[in-house]
């Protein structure tokens, strides 16, 4: 049994929150540069240039890439041989979110209750925490701040097996066309297939938070990712929806075993500020 003090979790989360919001992952910067080189639309190239300049300013000034510093989504893989001391896990994570967002000058975008008062919690807590118990004696924390412009364009459709790959393609393309400029293209598109209602959504979220350049380990799904990216870039939506061939820079598919009667499809779109940070304790 390895002991990890709760305060180490808090410190890691606070650091990841600021890093993720201010430092665009280098893979995303490279993807934007590549897109700019190949984009035929002059307006599109101009916008991609502004996004690269923005990322550069954000990194230099340690200023948030986007003012929507999101709800804090935390993926935590906790080794079963870890014993957390001096506090409980979720409280430690939320203390880290509080520190990161308050001390790091990030925006507080969380309201404590959705329907009646919608009172801002003033420190961006609570985080949305997805915990897995895994073998080993380490904790892997992946923090992915998620803005609402793209999140609001998420889609879940419970298809049936007869709808097949054609049905899946249509759900995804319809989601992208509906999202258009609202989700701040160029996008990173996360697709979750299979499972049930909530697992399909979680697969889509994990897919959207994957590193740019990673591919599904199953060759059939990797080929489907490539095909979807080509299709999405034929919609003409382009950077910021003002036209062009760079509507998405990546499509990531994650899947799970499902029911004999179901083919759930979830789409979770990430904007070009596809932010995340990771730490292993």
């Amino acid at each position: 049994m390895r002991e990890i003090p709760a305060e180490e979790i808090t410190a890691a989360v606070a650091r990841l929150a600021v890093e993720a919001c201010c430092d665009l992952p280098k893979e995303m910067v490279a993807a934007l540069e590549k897109a700019k080189a190949g984009e035929p639309s002059p307006v599109g190239r101009d916008i991609l240039g502004q996004l690269l300049e923005n990322a550069e300013i954000a990194r230099r000034e340690q200023a948030p890439i986007c003012q929507d510093t999101g709800l804090a989504v935390v993926f935590a893989d906790i080794g079963q041989d870890v014993h957390i001391t001096g506090g409980d896990f979720e409280e430690a994570v939320n203390k880290g979110i509080h520190q990161g967002y308050v001390d790091g000058f990030l925006r507080k975008s969380s309201v404590e209750e959705p329907l009646f008062e919608r009172r801002n919690t003033k420190d961006n807590t609570p985080a949305i925490i997805h915990t897995r118990i895994v073998p080993g004696d380490r904790i892997r924390l992946r923090l992915a701040p998620k803005g609402a412009g793209s999140e609001n364009k998420s889609v879940l459709k419970m298809l049936v097996p007869a709808d097949g790959i054609e049905g899946v393609r249509k759900v995804i393309l319809d989601a992208i066309k509906t999202a258009g400029p609202n989700s701040c293209p160029p996008m990173v598109v996360g697709v979750g297939l299979g499972g049930n209602m909530e697992l399909a959504c979680l697969c889509a979220k994990r897919a959207a938070a994957r590193d740019i350049g990673t591919r599904n380990p199953d060759a059939r799904y990797a080929a489907f990712e490539d095909e979807l990216l080509t299709l999405i870039n034929k919609t003409g939506i382009g950077p910021q929806g003002l036209g062009g061939e760079t509507t998405a820079v990546a499509v990531h598919v994650e899947w799970a075993p499902t029911h004999i009667a179901s083919l759930p499809v979830a789409v979770n779109i990430n904007c070009h500020a596809a932010r995340h940070g990771e730490a292993v304790l």
């Binding site: 923005n54 948030p64 986007c66 000058f105 258009g180 036209g243």
Partner: protein, 185 residues
């Protein structure tokens, strides 16, 4: 791309009506900052027959909820938010004299109708370019409802604020015109 046209805010009627869909602009002057919660309160104010905290005639509203300013800076990151969420309130404010809107994303047909009626253009700033846009904002002053935090009604002094006209006061839509040549599906 064509050179950007330099314009000043607030807008007079002639400037507002002269902007054309697809035109790139740099705005200098004073604009308002408001998003969901401030819009709701403005419309509630009007419903009660009260005066708004600011006269809307000629004003340009930027849909934004900035991050907090670091010491020595006027504002934090300040890119546009999705304009469609303000669709429920926008026609009412245009009837009160609002002359321009800056955000990102599609607008509802009834908003476009009100824009045509009132001679109001809708412009887009680059979504997610919050750090870059912040450098063009020189001053940020909360005018009302500080309890709303990043959603408070505020005034901004801007210099060469970059935007593109996406729907003009005649209803021409550059999202449609810009996308069409590249649509292959």
């Amino acid at each position: 791309m064509a050179e950007a046209r330099r314009i000043t805010a607030p807008f007079d009627d002639a400037t507002a009506r002269s902007l054309r869909a697809g035109e790139k602009v740099l705005i200098t002057g004073t604009i308002l900052a408001a998003r969901d919660a401030a819009h709701k309160r403005m419309v509630e104010c009007l419903d009660r027959g009260e005066k708004l905290p600011v006269d809307l005639h000629g004003q340009v509203v930027y849909y934004v909820g900035p991050t907090p300013a670091k010491p020595g800076k006027p504002i934090g990151s300040a890119g546009p938010t999705t304009a469609g969420r303000m669709d429920a309130y926008a026609p009412r404010l245009m009837d009160e004299g609002l002359k321009g809107m800056i955000g990102k994303g599609y607008r509802k047909p009834e908003v476009v109708e009100s824009m045509k009626k009132n001679g109001v253009p809708y412009l887009a700033a680059v979504g997610g370019a919050g750090a870059l846009i912040a450098e063009r904002i020189k001053k940020y002053t909360v005018l009302a409802w500080p309890d709303l935090g990043p959603e408070a009604l505020a005034e901004m002094v801007v210099e060469d604020f970059p935007a593109i006209v996406v729907i003009d006061s005649e209803g021409c839509d550059y999202y449609e015109a810009g996308q069409k040549p590249y649509r292959k599906l």
